[in-house]
C-alpha cells in the first residue's frame, strides 16, 4: 500500500516534470519560428527592392548586362529556395552578386549621383543590416533551442516528442564574418 503510494507520487512528479519540459520546449520552438519569420520579412523586402534597382541601373549600364542578369538570377533562386539551408546559400549568393553590382556602379559617376539610386542604395544597406540583425537573433534562439534539447535530462523529453535540432542561418561570406561593422 505504502509502496504503491510512493510509486504514485513519483509517477505524478515525473509526469509533471515531463509536462513542464515539454511546455518550455514548445515555447522555445515557437520563438525560433517567430525569429525565422523576422528574417523572412527582411529577405522579402530585399527581393522587392531588386527589380527597382535593376530598372534604375539598366539605363546607365549597357556593357554590364551579365552582372545584371546574375543579380536577377540570384534573386529568382533566392525566392524559389525552400529549406533553411538552401535559402541561406541562395541569399549569400545574392549578397555577393549585389556587392559586385555596387562595385560596378562605382564606375558610373552619373549613376552614383542619381537620387533614386542613392535612395535605393540606402534602403538596401539598411535592409542588409536588418537581415544581419534578424539572422543574429534567429541564430541565438536556435542555439538556445538546440542546447536545450540536447542537454540531459531534457533530451529524454525532446526525444520522446521528436523535437529535432534546427538549422542555423549561416553566412559563407568571409568579409562579413570578420567584422560586424556597418559601413555607409
Amino acid at each position: 500500500m505504502i509502496i504503491g503510494l510512493i510509486l504514485l507520487v513519483v509517477l505524478v512528479f515525473i509526469v509533471g516534470w515531463v509536462f513542464m519540459v515539454y511546455n518550455s520546449l514548445i515555447q522555445l520552438s515557437v520563438r525560433v519560428k517567430n525569429a525565422w519569420s523576422q528574417i523572412d520579412v527582411q529577405l522579402k523586402r530585399r527581393h522587392d527592392l531588386i527589380p527597382n534597382l535593376v530598372e534604375t541601373v539598366k539605363g546607365y549600364m549597357n556593357y554590364e548586362k551579365d552582372t545584371l542578369e546574375r543579380v536577377i538570377k540570384a534573386r529568382t533562386q533566392a525566392i524559389d529556395a525552400s529549406s533553411i539551408k538552401d535559402k541561406a546559400q541562395a541569399e549569400n549568393f545574392l549578397t555577393q552578386t549585389l556587392r559586385s553590382l555596387f562595385a560596378v556602379v562605382e564606375r558610373y559617376p552619373d549613376l552614383k549621383a542619381n537620387q533614386t539610386m542613392l535612395k535605393l542604395q540606402d534602403e538596401l544597406t539598411s535592409t542588409e543590416n536588418k537581415i544581419a540583425f534578424s539572422r543574429q537573433y534567429y541564430n541565438d534562439e536556435v542555439m538556445r533551442f538546440n542546447t536545450r534539447i540536447q542537454v540531459a535530462p531534457d533530451n529524454i523529453v525532446a526525444k520522446m516528442f521528436k523535437f529535432s535540432t534546427q538549422d542555423f542561418f549561416e553566412i559563407e561570406d568571409k568579409a562579413e564574418r570578420q567584422s560586424p561593422q556597418v559601413k555607409f
Binding site: K130, F133, S134, V182, F184
Partner: protein, 553 residues
C-alpha cells in the same frame, strides 16, 4: 539574458508595486509628522496648556493613512497617464521628422536594433540640442521610445550611434526603462507644480502676497528633493553595466560603445537638456554631480549611473584593447555623413522643361515654368515652343504653361511663394533639413524647428566667400558692441511663404548682427541669399572668432 517578456513582466510589476507602496508610505509619514507637529506645538500654545508631548491617537493615524492613500493615488494616477508625452515635453524631445535625412538615418538604426531584440516596435525621438546624450522610455501600454540628441547624430559615426541605441534597447528589454520612466514621472509632477507656482508668484507679488507662495514653493521643493533622492535608491547603478552588455551582445562591437561613452563624457552631456530629477532615463547623467563618479555604499544608493571610466574599462576589456588605442581610434575616427553629397548641388537643374517665347520679333529664352510666371507682358496668345522641339503654338494650348495664367500662385494652398520673387519655392534638403529655397534670389525659408538642426550639423563645406562675409559680419558686431546697440530697421515688409502674414525684420540675435525676417505666427525665418550660410558659419566657428579677438587685443 532574459529575452522572455513574461519573466520581465512579472519582475517589473513587482518593483512598480513596491514603488507605489513606498509612495503611500512616504505620504503617510509626511502627513503623520505634520499631524504630530500641529498637535504638539500649535494646539498646545493656542490653548495655553502646559506643554506635554503626545502622539496622535490611533484614529487620527488611521485618518492620516487614508489621506496619504488618497494623495498617493492621485499623484500616481496623474503622473502615470501619458507618461511618454509628458516626459518628452519636459525635455523638449519630439518624434523624428520623416523628411529630414538625419532623422531617417536614426529611424533606420533604431529599426535595425529593434529587429536585433526580436522585432519589438520602438519609436525614435530627437532632442534638438547640441549636447550628446540618449534616453529611453517605456509606458504602461508598452510603447517604447528611444531618443537621442541632435548633437549625437551630428558627431558620432554610425556604429557608435548603433551601440548607443543598443544600450537603450537593452534597458527596454530588461524592463529597467519602464521602472525608470515610472519613477521619473513621479518626480516630474513636482517640477510642474513648482513652475506653475513660480508663475503664480509673479502675480501675487504685485498684491503683496508673494511670501505665502514662496514658502509653499520652498516646502514643495524640499519634499521633491527628498522624495527624488529616495526614489533614486530604487534605481540600481548596475543596470547601466547590464545595458552596456546587452548593447555589445546586439552589435558585437564593444569598441564602438566605449568610443561613444568616451565622446559623450568628454563633450557636454547635459547642456541644453532639462534633465533635472530624470537623470535615470539617460545613458550618461545630464547633470554633473560628483557622486556619479564615486564608488561605495552612499554612491551606490543615491547615484543613478556608475563611473564612466569604469564602464569604458569594462568595454575595453571585452575588446582586448587598452585606453591608448581607444584615444587613437577616437582621434582617427571616420564619420560618413548620412547626407549624400549630391544634395549640395546648387543652381538650376538642367533636366527641367524649358520654353522659348516669341517676343519683340525674336525668340527669347529658354525660360523655366517659374520664370514664365514672372515674365513681363507674357500673355496666353503669345507664341511659344518647347526647348529641343520645333512645333510652335500659342501659350494657352500648352496645359502646363496655361496654368501660369489660371491662378496666381498665392491662391493655391499647397504652394509656397517666394517673398521677393513670388515664384514657387522649391522644397529641398539643406544639411539634411527640409527647407524651402527660391531658385532665383537664392533666399530660403526655414521652419522654427529646422534652424537649430542646421546649426548643429557640420556637413556643409563653406566657400571662401562665406568665410569672408562671416568675418566681416563678426567685425561689425565688434563695432556695435563698442559703441551702442545696433538699431534694426524694424520693418514688416515680406510675406511669410507659409502663413502669408507679414514677417518682422530683425537681427537674428544681437551677437550675430545679420538681418533676417521672422514670421510672428509660425516663427519660421526667411534668410536672404547667403545669410543662412553666414550665420551657420558664425555659430559653428564661434570659438575660433573668440580666440582671434583675444589674440588681437
Amino acid at each position: 539574458m532574459p529575452f522572455s517578456f513574461i519573466e520581465i513582466e512579472q519582475k517589473k510589476s513587482r518593483l512598480i508595486l513596491f514603488v507605489f507602496l513606498f509612495l503611500i508610505f512616504f505620504y503617510f509619514l509626511t502627513v503623520w509628522l505634520l499631524l504630530l507637529i500641529v498637535r504638539n506645538f500649535f494646539f498646545a500654545s493656542a490653548f495655553g496648556n502646559e506643554f506635554i508631548f503626545t502622539f496622535p491617537p490611533l484614529s487620527h493615524t488611521l485618518i492620516a493613512l487614508a489621506v496619504a492613500f488618497l494623495i498617493g493615488l492621485l499623484h500616481w494616477s496623474v503622473s502615470t497617464s501619458n507618461l511618454i508625452d509628458k516626459i518628452s515635453a519636459s525635455i523638449d524631445a519630439s518624434p523624428v521628422d520623416p523628411k529630414d535625412n538625419y532623422h531617417q538615418y536614426l529611424k533606420n538604426i533604431v529599426d535595425e536594433v529593434s529587429i536585433a531584440i526580436g522585432g519589438r516596435h520602438i519609436e525614435p525621438y530627437v532632442i534638438p540640442t547640441s549636447a550628446l546624450n540618449a534616453y529611453s522610455l517605456v509606458d504602461f501600454q508598452d510603447n517604447a521610445v528611444i531618443g537621442v540628441t541632435e548633437g549625437l547624430l551630428a558627431r558620432l559615426n554610425r556604429s557608435q550611434i548603433e551601440a548607443v541605441v543598443g544600450h537603450e534597447a537593452g534597458h527596454i528589454v530588461s524592463g529597467d526603462s519602464f521602472n525608470a520612466t515610472v519613477i521619473c514621472s513621479l518626480s516630474e509632477i513636482y517640477k510642474e507644480t513648482v513652475s506653475r507656482l513660480g508663475q503664480g508668484t509673479r502675480e501675487f507679488r504685485l498684491r503683496g502676497k508673494g511670501g505665502v507662495l514662496i514658502l509653499l514653493i520652498f516646502i514643495v521643493l524640499t519634499i521633491m528633493n527628498f522624495l527624488n533622492q529616495l526614489l533614486n535608491t530604487f534605481i540600481s547603478r548596475q543596470r547601466e553595466y547590464r545595458a552596456d552588455a546587452v548593447s555589445v551582445r546586439l552589435t558585437r562591437n564593444p569598441l564602438a560603445l566605449a568610443e561613444a561613452l568616451r565622446l559623450i563624457s568628454q563633450k557636454w552631456h547635459g547642456s541644453g537638456i532639462n534633465g533635472e530629477n530624470i537623470e535615470s532615463i539617460f545613458i550618461v547623467s545630464p547633470n554633473v554631480r560628483s557622486i556619479e563618479e564615486q564608488e561605495g555604499l552612499a554612491a551606490d544608493l543615491f547615484a543613478t549611473h556608475p563611473p564612466i571610466d569604469k564602464r569604458v574599462n569594462i568595454l575595453l576589456d571585452m575588446a582586448h584593447l587598452d585606453e591608448k588605442t581607444l584615444d587613437e581610434n577616437i582621434k582617427n575616427m571616420i564619420r560618413v555623413s548620412p547626407i549624400a553629397k549630391a544634395e549640395f548641388k546648387e543652381g538650376v537643374s538642367s533636366d527641367k522643361k524649358r520654353w522659348f517665347v516669341f517676343k519683340q520679333d525674336e525668340w527669347q529664352g529658354p525660360f523655366l515654368l517659374d520664370e514664365l510666371r514672372v515674365l513681363k507682358g507674357f500673355s496666353p496668345t503669345d507664341w511659344i515652343k518647347i526647348e529641343g522641339q520645333d512645333s510652335v503654338f500659342e501659350a494657352f494650348n500648352d496645359d502646363e504653361v496655361n496654368k501660369v495664367f489660371g491662378a496666381t500662385i498665392e491662391d493655391k494652398e499647397d504652394s509656397y511663394p517666394c517673398p521677393h520673387c513670388h515664384t514657387n519655392l522649391n522644397e529641398l534638403n539643406y544639411e539634411g533639413v527640409p527647407i524651402l529655397k527660391c531658385d532665383f534670389c537664392a533666399g530660403s525659408f526655414v521652419d522654427y524647428s529646422g534652424i537649430s538642426r542646421i546649426f548643429i550639423r557640420e556637413d556643409k563645406e563653406f566657400s571662401q566667400e562665406i568665410v569672408d562675409l562671416a568675418s566681416s559680419v563678426y567685425k561689425t558686431k565688434l563695432r556695435y558692441n563698442s559703441f551702442s546697440k545696433p538699431g534694426t530697421s524694424d520693418d514688416w515688409i515680406l510675406d511669410c511663404p507659409k502663413c502669408r502674414k507679414k514677417m518682422h525684420r530683425q537681427f537674428f540675435v544681437y551677437s550675430y548682427p545679420v538681418e533676417i525676417d521672422r514670421c510672428p505666427s509660425c516663427s519660421g525665418i526667411w534668410f536672404d541669399k547667403q545669410e543662412l550660410e553666414v550665420l551657420q558659419y558664425l555659430y559653428q566657428n564661434k570659438d575660433k572668432f573668440l580666440l582671434q579677438d583675444k589674440n588681437s587685443v
